[in-house]
């Protein structure tokens, strides 16, 4: 509470004196990271802070497309880690990248259903059944794009039928903001199924949701790039964090959370 009062006084002073020189406070590395990277990046940030006293890692987690929009609108950040190459490419094309991008991890989409599975979904094909309620982000969000690719591939298979993708998309009840929001809809039981990454289903989630595998023939590999941004306030510290992510130590943490090697 008292801390809140100090913060508010500090912010009031800050807003009223925009011309003051940049604060010489602690070094903060701002990392804009895909929502699916939440757990490993939290652990990586802790590890980094322990190794570099005086440096703090701040995470801004969200849909890669939302983070890309924030960066293009001028948000200040040091690093950007996307869940797909498309959103990273747009950042590169906008001339915002100073170094990279480097692919540092891979992931696989899976289906999840609530633990009691009210729509009785046991395979990908069941998603097209009328009345199934699917939570799926829009095509600009990486998981939304991956899911649509998977559905298009399945539509090529006569067993699924050429209108399979269309029938599944007709069952979408909400275009969620990012993969974690879609996950929450299923965990709460409001939606019957969602596409998420394998890494989103942690040990603690097993009692709330169940995983349904996507046939290997249709599935995609999600590739995660990271890049140092031109607007970085602390490029040296940011480069060190990027090095940790790509080091054997960082890879070990990512793989413990279920991510694949690049």
């Amino acid at each position: 509470m008292r801390r809140g009062i100090w913060v508010s006084l500090w912010l009031m002073a800050g807003c009223l004196s925009p011309l003051r020189s940049p604060a010489a406070g602690p070094v903060e590395v701002w990392v804009f990271a895909a929502a699916s990277l939440r757990e490993p990046f939290q652990e990586l940030a802790q590890r980094f802070e322990a190794q570099h006293p005086g440096v703090r890692v701040r995470l801004n987690l969200g849909a890669s497309s939302a983070l890309r929009t924030q960066l293009m609108q001028g948000a200040q950040a040091d690093l950007f880690a996307s869940a797909d190459e498309k959103n990273m490419e747009e950042i590169v094309r906008a001339g915002l990248v100073a170094e990279g991008p480097y692919i540092f991890a891979t992931n696989r989409p899976v289906l999840i259903v609530p633990a009691d599975n009210p729509a009785r979904i046991s395979q990908l094909a069941d998603l097209a059944r009328p009345g199934v309620r699917i939570a799926l982000p829009g095509p600009e969000v990486p998981i939304g794009a991956y899911a649509r690719t998977i559905l298009q591939r399945a539509s090529q298979d006569p067993a699924y039928g050429p209108d399979f993708a269309e029938r599944v998309l007709r069952n979408v009840v909400s275009e969620e903001a990012n993969v974690k929001a879609a996950f929450a809809r299923v965990a709460l039981g409001e939606a019957d199924a969602a596409f998420v990454y394998r890494t989103d289903v942690g040990p603690a989630d097993r009692e709330k949701v169940r995983v349904v595998e996507i046939p290997e023939a249709f599935n995609v590999v999600a590739r995660y790039p990271i890049a140092l941004l031109k607007g970085a306030r602390h490029p040296t510290a940011a480069r060190a964090f990027m090095a940790l992510v790509r080091s054997p130590e960082g890879q070990g943490i990512l793989q413990r959370w279920g991510f694949g090697p690049p």
């Binding site: 929009t69 909400s174 039981g189």
Partner: protein, 281 residues
């Protein structure tokens, strides 16, 4: 209200006595806040042409969101009038045990953050909520449906109508109602020919505020009804989606919503000024 002219006169006299240096200082001190609010609006006016150009307005995202917003917000306003008027009348005219609690309950959604309102609606009417299974058993699903949008809007916006309507009823003097009753009007006649017409400014401005608030509703709608184009994606939600895919569509929706709000505000001020004028005459 009757004090108004003398208050204005006092003010004018005071200003003259104190002279202009002091009032210059006052204008100068007011300027930063004016700039803070004025500049963004000026920017919006200059970029309005870009936002309202044909192609942006014809984007399916924009058209669907506009149609859905109109439909749901008008349904919300109608339901607010239907369900809110009796409660507003009750609160204005009767005293009963627990009235203070009822008043607080009805006004609470005005101060509750709308996102929190969405959580509360999910816990109550969601599929796993208190009433969800019962509703589902009779074939009613509210989350992720346009009806869910209306419920979210009603929860957040109807309190604005109930508050306005209650104040409207309070301005009607009981003596007038009693006089009409003495002259032989039935209770319904009194309500229809005396109370409702006299309370109308309050009812109407409450209704307009409720409508405007429903159109702008975001948090509760997003959590309770989800975000699906053509089904539950109202204009504020479409802005969020468009920011990531089609900036021009986001600008078009922003311009439309801002101009609508400005029109509501100017219209209401005009209405109230007219009322005051009639009163002073």
């Amino acid at each position: 209200m009757g004090l108004r002219p003398s208050v204005t006169a006092c003010f004018r006299e005071g200003a003259m006595r104190r002279g202009w240096p002091r009032s210059m200082l006052l204008y100068g001190l007011g300027l930063p806040a004016l700039l803070f609010f004025g500049l963004p609006m000026l920017v919006l006016v200059f970029r309005a042409a870009e936002g309202l150009s044909g192609s942006a307005l014809k984007a399916p995202l924009v058209r669907q969101a506009m149609a859905l917003t109109m439909g749901t917000s008008l349904a919300t306003t109608g339901l607010a009038a239907l369900l809110g008027t009796p409660l507003a009348y009750l609160l204005a005219r009767r005293t009963f045990p627990g009235k203070a609690l009822v008043e607080t309950l009805v006004e609470l959604p005005i101060v509750i953050p709308p996102v929190a309102g969405g959580v509360i609606l999910l816990l109550t009417f969601g599929r796993r909520g208190l009433l969800g299974p019962a509703l589902e058993a009779v074939g009613v699903t509210l989350s992720f449906t346009p009806q869910g949008v209306v419920m979210a809007q009603l929860f957040i916006a109807a309190p604005f109508y109930i508050r306005g309507a209650r104040l409207g009823f309070l301005t009607v003097s009981r003596e007038l109602e009693e006089a009409a009753a003495v002259d032989g009007a039935s209770p319904w006649g009194v309500l229809w020919h005396v109370t409702l017409p006299l309370a109308f400014p309050g009812l109407f401005s409450g209704l307009v505020l409720c409508w405007a608030r429903a159109i702008g509703e975001f948090g509760a709608t997003y959590l309770f009804a989800g975000n699906l184009p053509g089904r539950t994606q109202t204009m504020p939600l479409a802005i969020l989606t468009a920011m990531e895919s089609d900036l021009r569509a986001a600008l078009a929706l922003t311009v439309l919503l801002a101009f609508f709000s400005a029109a509501v505000l100017v219209g209401l001020r005009g209405l109230l000024a007219e009322q005051e004028g009639a009163f002073l005459q």
